[in-house]
């Protein structure tokens, strides 16, 4: 059963209908085999001949139509590794004792990165 979010996206971006249909098929395959995977914009850009920016725009659009959901990562300014991850930015503390470098970091929005994974609703529809 097709997930309604793709239909919404097709209406929003009719000029990209071919890409969106291929993307729908691709994401369905990935969701079936790797449901917890983070979706990489570089991989999408390479596979579908898009610029990195256009790939990110599409991924954010897929988040808006609930195929994907966003998560946030606090990047350690010393090691550039992930100090902490949360589903919602509001759940991030105002300071942390970093697991990567051991130092205390005060919350700085410049150190926050966002990535996307499959939404629960989409994974449920894929399993049906």
């Amino acid at each position: 059963m097709p997930f309604p979010g793709f239909g919404t996206l097709l209406q929003k971006r009719p000029e990209q209908s071919a890409t969106i249909r291929r993307l729908e098929e691709f994401l369905g395959q990935v969701a079936a085999t790797s449901p917890t995977a983070a979706i990489e914009d570089g991989h999408i850009a390479n596979k579908f001949g898009l610029t990195s920016h256009d790939a990110r725009v599409l991924l954010v659009d897929l988040m808006l139509v609930r195929v994907l959901q966003s998560r946030v990562a606090w990047i350690c300014p010393e090691t550039y590794g992930t100090s902490r991850e949360q589903a919602e930015l509001r759940d991030m503390p105002t300071w942390i004792e970093c697991e990567k470098c051991g130092l205390i970091h005060t919350y700085d929005p410049e150190q926050i990165e966002v990535f996307v994974v499959f939404s629960h609703d989409y994974l449920s529809s894929v399993r049906q």
Partner: protein, 214 residues
């Protein structure tokens, strides 16, 4: 995909990732150009922002400021409700000039409205405005009152025909609870200087995020 919060929120808009939210309210003889300017840096910092447009308010309308504020305060309540309904708490407020009276009346007349932090600049409220009563009702946790002796507009506020107006933007609020109200002097700032981009980035954003240095 790993993108900076700033880029993500610019693409995702109101559906982005936010650590808190803010309602901004402008003053008279203005359509709040600073509010529109502030949306982007606030959003980039993970603060969901709704600028409340009070419409153009001319000086003549200030003959009855309390009645005017009461007529306009539902717009503040609606903005608060938008954030609240979407689960974007804590919700803060930033108000300038006449906007400070509108926010005050919104809190006084709507006991369900809650702001965690409030920034008042160019504040025309009375120094004796009862913030502690609003705190006791659970409607406010902290007020940052940015004052300046050079604020000529606030200097005239005591002439307004309203029991709630006065010169808090110059003299500060009188409040025994120093954990509730913080009067912050910014000498030499004139009435609208605090709404500039640099000031917002340097002082407002850290305060709203709760990361300001003590």
């Amino acid at each position: 995909m790993r993108m900076k919060l700033k880029e993500f929120n610019r693409l995702a808009g109101k559906a982005g990732q936010y650590s808190c939210s803010v309602v901004t309210v402008h003053g008279i003889q203005s359509r709040g150009e600073w509010q529109k300017m502030a949306v982007a840096p606030l959003s980039d910092a993970g603060i969901r922002c709704i600028p409340v447009d009070l419409g153009g308010i001319g000086l003549l309308k200030m003959l009855r400021p309390e009645a005017l504020a009461d007529r306009l305060m539902p717009r503040v309540v609606a903005a608060w409700k938008n954030h609240s309904d979407q689960g974007h708490e804590p919700i803060h407020v930033v108000a300038h000039s006449f906007g400070t009276l509108v926010v005050a009346r919104a809190l006084q007349r709507n006991a369900g409205v809650r702001f965690t932090r409030a920034i008042m600049c160019g504040c025309i409220l009375s120094p004796r405005f009862p913030w502690s009563e609003l705190r006791d009702r659970g409607q406010i946790a902290h007020v940052r009152n940015e004052m300046s002796m050079e604020d000529g507009a606030v200097r005239l506020a005591h002439t307004l025909m309203c029991r709630w107006t006065g010169q808090a933007g110059i003299k500060g609020f009188i409040c025994d609870d120093t954990e509730l109200v913080e009067n912050v002097p910014f000498n030499w700032l004139t009435h609208s200087d605090a709404t500039g981009e640099v000031h917002i980035a340097r002082f407002w954003i850290p305060y709203l995020l709760g990361t300001e240095s003590s």
